[in-house]
Symmetry: C2
Subunit: 330 residues, 2 copies
Amino acid sequence: MPELRRDPIVGRWVIIATERGKRPSDFKMRVPAKKAGFCAFCNGNEYTTPPEIIANRPEGSEPNTPGWTLRVVPNKFPALRIERQLNTTGDELFSKMDGIGAHEVIIENPDHYLTLSTMPLRSVEDTLLAFHQRISDLKKDSRLKYALVFKNEGEAAGASLEHSHSQLIALPIVPKQVQEELNNSRHYHEANKSCIFCDIIRHEINDRTRVISENESYISLAPFAPTSPFETWILPKDHESSFVPDGKLPLLAQLLQKTLKQIDKVLDLPPYNMILHISPFEDESNEYYHWHMEIKPTLTKKAGFEWGSGFYINPTPPEEAAKFMRESGI
Amino acid sequence: MPELRRDPIVGRWVIIATERGKRPSDFKMRVPAKKAGFCAFCNGNEYTTPPEIIANRPEGSEPNTPGWTLRVVPNKFPALRIERQLNTTGDELFSKMDGIGAHEVIIENPDHYLTLSTMPLRSVEDTLLAFHQRISDLKKDSRLKYALVFKNEGEAAGASLEHSHSQLIALPIVPKQVQEELNNSRHYHEANKSCIFCDIIRHEINDRTRVISENESYISLAPFAPTSPFETWILPKDHESSFVPDGKLPLLAQLLQKTLKQIDKVLDLPPYNMILHISPFEDESNEYYHWHMEIKPTLTKKAGFEWGSGFYINPTPPEEAAKFMRESGI
């Protein structure tokens, strides 16, 4: 019997279509092997990107020259632009504003053939630190309200370049998806005097069927009502509203890379999206919202039913997905 | 300069990325030519589908035999099932219910090689009438609250069979996406004493830049803040909250097929999704919600940014899309 499940955070329903019950081998989406050829993100080709914003490079090395281990550069084809006043126009029906914002690319490692799951753990740590540094810097721009960090791995997941990279888009509006999570978490906190994510973590640690892995500070789990098969969340076990991993960075990097290795092993190198959800700049430190990462392998298509309803059909129960991940041997 | 636009109905923002400004020829997504070979939806293969629910067939002809012009059958692999009590369990964090519902397939025409844009207009009319008949019938089941009719054309848009068909999923819950449209339309009506869709239609007819086509009873237009390039809506010009096209069916079929022909011509046979949004069963006749069809060519991918933010990046301003459609010569 299929099951309807309600996401506790945003109230969205998903259909867990048990009768379509898909095992990992039923999904045939594999990121093609990375190809040789000119790549703007490779060592030696720094001149082809806009000038770097920050980089990890040997002391004394000039910006935009080879030898770096991580670079952050503006997106050459930005969805939004930083240089303008923020003008709002329109009326109740048709409001619009200038597309102010930042769109940056985090090139995680100079090696063209590595992915976040195969690169040295140190690069994963550096990448997470770069997220934090860029968020902290962009926060100073009073026109901006939110920074969304995300990663698309594989063309099917929306990546236009195959060299492993993450992106950051800073926005003059708190995005709707985040605002819904914030609103509902705030209501939950008002009613229950606790953080909904903390309560979920407590429940999951006790129940264990959806827990995938954990270390001293972080936990990875399959959410109760995932929109995609094998969707995985990584959260700090203690309440933290904004992304400041501090001294715990190595533990976060370790769990993130372990999760991606599990996904690669179980699903045979699928395309995926990764998203970092944090509190908005203006309300960074609060008791109701808990930052987290969401990793969604791209295994199903958003089709007419999903577009029209906001419902999702997920053919793999999260309890089964978590079991496959736990038993992957990684 | 990119532009941020707010959808007047649900308040979702989209980025109209003018600098990526894509013309129709920049999108290279074409539905592959339909292949010969066994097809469960073809004339003569009626025995391979579950028994038909309704069909248009010559008088005296037996159900589930050849000779029909349209068939409605249960989906062989339904996302939801009709035969059960509706049980709800769980608590505030983890609520779930049995996957009660109906999942039906409307086989629009027996010819394997036709699409909704190339089949005889009469088949389009019959298809729309079948939507109405099935909705009216399912409405009698008190466990069900909503019926979503949709169509996926092309594998990239989620179609698993290439023979042209639409689907209907009836649900025990009003889906979130529809509920948001309903809530916001109701608020707008409370504040303005008018239907937001009627006001938009009035504005668009006056402005004309986003109007694509119209006839006596229906209008097609590019919405102000579309999530996808070339997204097109079809609406009745007069206020109608539920889908009862009555004597106007030929006019609706004509505008729907014209729109699909325009899309096929301008974008060279793209995959697409079509969605019918109506009022919920329990509130069929109201002054605030206006039924409509949304057609979304599958030209962009939902990637990390869209998943994480609920924002969409649309590289084609709707005013340009509408102009291409108007000037398609169809």
